[in-house]
């Protein structure tokens, strides 16, 4: 980090901050149940669910494990499981 004349910063640079480390619970998707509706993606406050082919999957580098995706999934396809188990 260098300090410049004013606190002006390049865009999108919090990507260095892997908030996945905050997680206690991890979302796990049962793609059997998933209908690909994308609601989980819409409501992920960290914008970490990405469409990967026709699947929606969280980027675990950043997912904080809030559990919203599991809560909003109309198919109950997502389960929150304890991290590191």
């Amino acid at each position: 980090m260098k300090v410049i004349h004013a606190a002006i910063v390049k865009p999108g640079t919090t990507l260095v901050n892997k908030t996945g480390g905050w997680r206690t619970f991890m979302p796990e998707c049962n793609y059997e149940l998933c209908n690909g509706c994308g609601i989980c993606e819409t409501y992920c406050p960290d914008s970490v669910i990405v469409k990967d082919g026709d699947r929606y999957a969280p980027n675990l580098d950043y997912c904080k494990g809030c559990g919203i995706c599991a809560n909003v999934c109309p198919k109950d396809a997502i389960t929150m499981i304890l991290e590191g188990k």
Partner: protein
């Protein structure tokens, strides 16, 4: 100075005219006596089609300055004018502007602070903002206030500086006086003042984040760089004065200006309009054999420490005049800071601080004479004096 090109106008007009010539992109101000005339003239220029429609009326000074933060961040040359309560109401934003390094220029039409309410002149308002990281220039007369406005933009926008500038002019005494001035020459301005090219702007094509916060790991360094920028401003201010002279032929000093100071034993240090009165008194006193001269402070921030140390070399007593007081220290800032910057040098000249002209109390020549006489006494008798009001009316107490 060349009478041909002079017009007799009031101080506010001369400054408003200079602002127009400097082509700001955005002007936002809130009325307050005795600044109003400046914005009124600007409004009339615009209403008459003599100036681009850049000005906007806002709902408070806090918002005036905040609006300029936005404007400056997209690359606009931004200007405001204010005074007293208005300036202090902006204070939070003033810190912010300098920290964000936005080269905004503001005319401060100096006025006393309330309570008790006073619409009259002193310099408590701008002096009380001396920690905010703004460059502060003080004008002696209307011509200088106008010319300084152009210099201010040039200094502020210099890429080694990038600090906001206050051009301070004494309320009423300068803002409301009609006198002959050369209105800033429109045809010469481009040569002196190039367009503003910011280092970074808010732009959807090149998104940047402005105003991130700094944790303890980096905050000090941002502040340090502001101080470095102030140091950088020292030659820039001098250069701006020199270049101004080259282009416009007028010169009122750099960081400081000296008058009959070279050999003066009694050295007055002062700033603002009182300098004019002093300059009329000095030759009269010189004629009577009193060795007196004056150092006029043009730049109070950056404080011209080095220049003062040099300029007081000949002095046997130094007298500072302050139109402000730090209540509880009992000193004016010029008194305090002058002593401070010479303390660690080899200079040991006594410094006497007089406060005067607060809340619009007039400063006649006799007051200056009396002060110089007192200083002469101190010099002769080698006694020490503390700061005091030169014009207190004991009978009211």
């Amino acid at each position: 100075m060349d009478r041909e090109n002079m017009s007799v106008v009031d101080g506010a007009y001369a400054v408003a005219h200079a602002v127009n010539v400097c082509k700001p992109d955005v002007v936002a101000a809130y009325p307050i006596t005795p600044q109003t005339n400046i914005v009124e003239h600007i409004s009339q220029f615009i209403a008459d089609g003599e100036m681009d429609d850049v000005s906007i009326n806002v709902e408070s000074e806090h918002s005036a300055m905040s609006l300029l933060v936005g404007a400056s961040s997209v690359g606009a040359r931004a200007y405001s004018a204010t005074a007293s309560q208005g300036l202090v109401l902006m204070s939070e934003v003033l810190f912010n502007v300098s920290g964000m390094r936005l080269p905004i220029v503001v005319t401060v039409v100096n006025r006393a602070m309330s309570a008790p309410l006073s619409i009259w002149n002193d310099q408590q308002d701008s002096i009380s903002q001396r920690d905010t990281g703004w460059i502060q220039l003080y004008a002696e007369d209307v011509q200088e206030a106008a010319d300084m406005t152009a210099q201010a933009f040039k200094i502020a926008e210099n890429s080694n500086v990038l600090l906001p500038v206050m051009v301070c002019m004494d309320g009423f005494i300068l803002s409301h006086v009609y006198e002959p001035v050369v209105l800033l020459e429109d045809d010469l301005i481009d040569e002196f003042l190039p367009g503003y090219s910011p280092l970074a702007v808010l732009d959807p094509d090149n998104p940047k984040t402005f105003g991130a916060f700094a944790d303890p790991g980096a905050y000090t360094e941002f502040r340090y760089l502001q101080e470095v920028a102030m140091k950088n401003a020292i030659p820039v201010i001098e250069d701006a004065a020199d270049e101004f002279k080259e282009v416009f032929g007028r010169y009122q000093g750099g960081l400081i200006d000296e008058y009959m100071a070279e050999d003066a034993e009694i050295m007055i240090i002062a700033m603002g309009s009182v300098v004019g009165t002093i300059k009329e008194v000095i030759p009269e006193l010189r004629a009577k054999g009193v060795s007196v001269g004056i150092i006029k402070i043009r730049s109070f921030r950056p404080f011209p420490a080095e220049a003062i140390r040099k300029a007081v070399a000949s002095a046997k007593v130094i007298v500072t005049l302050d139109k402000n007081i730090s209540i509880g220290l009992g000193e004016g800032a010029l008194f305090t800071e002058t002593k401070s910057v010479i303390y660690n040098s080899s200079i040991r000249t006594p410094v006497i601080g007089f406060m005067l002209g607060h809340g619009g109390r007039d400063i006649p020549k006799a007051r200056i004479e009396q002060i110089v006489m007192e200083a002469g006494e101190v010099m002769k008798r080698g006694i020490t004096v503390e700061s005091r009001y030169a014009d207190l009316k004991e009978e009211l107490l």
